[in-house]
Symmetry: C2
Subunit: 97 residues, 2 copies
Amino acid sequence: MLKVIAQDFVRLDALEIVRPFYRELVELTRREPLCLAYDLFVNQKDPGHFIFVEEWPDRAALDAHCATEHFRRLVPLINAHHRQDPTFILMDAMADV
Amino acid sequence: MLKVIAQDFVRLDALEIVRPFYRELVELTRREPLCLAYDLFVNQKDPGHFIFVEEWPDRAALDAHCATEHFRRLVPLINAHHRQDPTFILMDAMADV
């Protein structure tokens, strides 16, 4: 099992622009057959700090997600409004370490 | 619902010392009646980077967790081996924003 935290930092003047893209990305990703969890959160102290908490069976499933039509279409539309580079943490469960 | 990501950065020479403290902290926290989720992960690129993904009904439940005997006893034992300060992100679900 692969857990992922992906963090986006969006300009505060672009929140209304990116929210529909995020909603579509979440909806379509959750329909992927290998998606175990794909939840999107917002930092209570920063409305432009979006945090995905994801779960995939393995790295190949994550790579397949990144190759989907919806990912390749929507992520650049979101990234155009970033104020800094996104970050990604790929994690193993502590019990497996 | 309150989602939390708490990140610890432990010195690599102290991993064997802190792991039993983490295991006890996870086991006892999951027994707290208000704990909805309390999962601990390790960054695949950094075995000293520990990431809690937590879920609580509200801020009061998180505060109650931080006041428990096990939290007040175990967290300082872990923190003694940190190589940098921990970070905490308190988050709302995107659907609620």
